[in-house]
């Protein structure tokens, strides 16, 4: 572990940040972490990320919701078999509404849970390399590399228009 350092490049805008990532990629250096004040498809694209697994989770959640909705409504109605206004015991049209609402509810909560799980949140411990400006007006690219690589990485980052800071890896 010793000898590893974090090189952080700080950029004024998204374009420069994307440019830096592309440069790093060209140099076969994988940026360890990118900080951004805004969600950016360009950064994701540059990093080569695919679709988030949150999608699948939401789908699962939604289907679970629908199934729960129908199970709860049909099951509890069958339990007592109470006549209300001569309507059928299993009245599907109203149950669809419940199933629909539960689909949204379960889907929505899965989306949030999926996001939290996937991004390891909530997280109180600090993330190495984070700077307060990264939530405001700076984009950061962190590269964890052996100390030997420091100059090369720094060069690329600076070349892309960034200012660099070097930390010892935590």
């Amino acid at each position: 572990m010793s000898g590893e350092i974090d090189v952080i490049g700080s950029f004024a805008n998204e374009e420069m940040c994307v440019h830096a990532i592309e440069e790093l990629k060209d140099a076969h250096i994988q940026p360890t972490r990118v900080f951004a004040p805004i969600p950016s498809e360009h950064i994701n694209h540059a990093l080569g990320y695919g679709r988030s697994p949150v999608r699948a989770l939401v789908l699962t959640g939604g289907i679970t919701g629908i199934l729960t909705g129908f199970a709860v409504t049909i099951g509890t109605s069958m339990e007592w078999w109470l006549n209300a206004g001569g309507k059928p015991i299993v009245s599907l049209p109203p149950f669809i509404i419940i199933a629909f609402e539960l689909m949204i509810l379960f889907g929505g909560t899965s989306a949030v849970l999926g996001f939290l799980l996937n991004s390891r949140m909530p997280q109180i411990d600090p993330i190495p390399g984070y700077s307060e400006r990264f939530s405001s007006d700076r984009f950061g690219v962190l590269v964890r590399c052996p100390e030997s690589e420091k100059d090369r990485v720094e060069g690329i980052l600076k070349g892309a228009g960034g200012e660099t800071v070097v930390h010892e890896a935590a």
Binding site: P37, I38, P39, E41, R55, L105, A111, S119, M121, I127
Partner: protein, 453 residues
């Protein structure tokens, strides 16, 4: 993609941050007086509600005939208010509407607090609020669950889902902004924001999942918002009471909800923008677009009024005809004409760009719309019941002081919560303004609207 080093004109990220962070600075005396005033009203309402629980609903003006009136009016009104928030934050998000960025947080906050307020009213309204949880299924020794055929259970599900989803949606959007605030805050605010930001650092993976989750939430919230007010409308449409029993209620209510909600956004935004000096961020371009939505939905609502009456006339059902006759010309006929004026006539000047850009006039118009939409619900709910199937049981509803004060209290509750939020949370989404900074700059550069430096 624009060249990286091209010099920019107009606001920068830092300008945006500066603008928003300024709002979140310690508020002054006047602010606390205002918040104190709001919560005093809330306390009065709470005391009256406590008394109502203790002695019974006899303290209201409800009676045989109009068994639902002001409380349910408030419920529908507040749910309706909520809707524009989700419309702006979710539906317009999906459409990538440019002008939403500056105003969506206001709208979404309004949504959350409006649903919160709305959710109180069914509980205030029922005879035995301590059993209100029976409307939701839970395991019990009786194995007896709610009747899922009842529109009120749909309502319970829809509104609680809506409350959950809109809260999640708001929190999701807030996370990056709260993290932003955390990084400059001090003292207890720092602690608060640290907890609320859940350790957000804006890393690539966080953003990646956040984006997807946010998109999907928006995707889920879109049908939800349409369903919620449809379900609320079915509380009435599923009943066979003339004036309630109508197939057009779902779209009619949704349009009305968006109409009233956007008007409420403007009602909140215009003074807030003035007081907090947000002209730089919330430009007249934003306001103008919101005004256009008000105008559009006003026209839809007017059309709905027409269709509703037309169907009744065309259907020739004598009982329904009489209900509508009473609605127009009966003892509470003035309510209908208030609605017509406020909802159909008052927004018409918005066809003129000059009016749309004149915030004072616009503010007055939105106040009218708020009043009009409240009375529209009152008209549908209470006035229809006043003219029910059995003429001997017709009755005129007169609200009691309890109901009026609880209604006032609900506005105070809403405004108080909103005011607290506005000064302690990023009421304007910095993230999204930055994301859409090109559009903001464009608006400035084109000099289409003055006001931006």
């Amino acid at each position: 993609m624009a060249a990286a080093a091209e010099p920019v004109s107009g606001p920068t990220y830092a300008d945006i941050d500066r603008g928003v962070r300024k709002i979140m600075e310690a508020p002054g005396f006047v602010y606390w007086v205002w918040v104190g005033f709001c919560f005093t009203l809330v306390a009065i309402a709470a005391a009256l509600w406590t008394r109502q629980i203790y002695v019974g609903l006899g303290v209201t003006g409800l009676r045989q005939g109009p068994m639902w009136a002001m409380y349910i009016t408030n419920f529908v009104f507040w749910v309706g208010i909520a809707h524009s928030g989700t419309l702006i934050s979710a539906i317009l998000y999906l459409f990538r509407t440019r002008w939403r960025t500056a105003v969506y947080r206001v709208a979404e906050t309004m949504t959350l607090f409006a649903v919160l307020t709305a959710g109180l009213f069914p509980i205030i309204h029922v005879g035995r609020p301590w059993y209100a949880y029976w409307l939701l299924p839970y395991p019990n020794e009786r194995s007896l669950q709610p009747d899922f055929r009842s529109p009120l259970v749909w309502d319970a599900f829809a509104v609680s889902t809506y409350l959950t989803i809109s809260a999640l949606f708001l929190v999701m959007g807030l996370i990056p902004d709260v993290a932003n605030a955390r990084d400059v805050a001090k003292g207890w605010r720092k602690t608060l924001y640290t907890i609320l930001s859940l350790g957000w650092r804006g890393t690539d993976t966080q953003w990646q999942h956040w984006s997807m989750a946010y998109l999907l939430l928006a995707g889920l919230a879109t049908p939800l918002v349409l369903s919620v007010h449809s379900v609320v409308s079915w509380d009435f449409a599923m009943a066979q009471l003339p004036g309630w029993h109508s197939t057009i209620f779902a779209p009619y209510f949704v349009a009305g909800a968006i109409f009233s909600g956007v008007a409420m956004v403007l009602t909140l935004l215009i003074p807030m923008r003035k007081i907090m000096h947000l002209e730089d961020l919330v430009t007249e371009w934003h306001i103008d677009n919101l005004a256009k939505v008000v105008l559009l939905t006003s026209l839809i609502v007017s059309y709905s009024y027409g269709v509703e009456s037309f169907i009744v006339w065309y259907g020739k059902d004598p009982i329904e005809m009489m209900t509508f006759h009473e609605r127009y010309f009966g003892p509470h006929g003035w309510v209908f004409w208030v609605c017509i004026f406020c909802n159909c006539i008052a927004p018409l000047p918005l066809f003129s760009p000059r009016v749309r850009r004149n915030t004072v006039v616009l503010f007055i118009i939105t106040i009218f719309v708020n009043i009009g939409m409240w009375f529209e619900r009152f008209m549908i709910i209470a006035v229809s019941q006043e003219n029910n199937f059995n003429p001997s049981q017709w009755a005129i509803y007169h609200p009691s002081i309890t109901e009026i004060m609880i209604t006032v209290g609900s506005f105070a509750w809403f405004l108080g919560l909103f005011s607290l939020f506005a000064r302690f949370m990023p009421i304007i989404s910095m993230t999204e303004l930055k994301e859409g900074i090109h559009w903001l700059r464009e608006a400035v550069r084109d000099d289409y609207y003055p006001g931006l430096k």
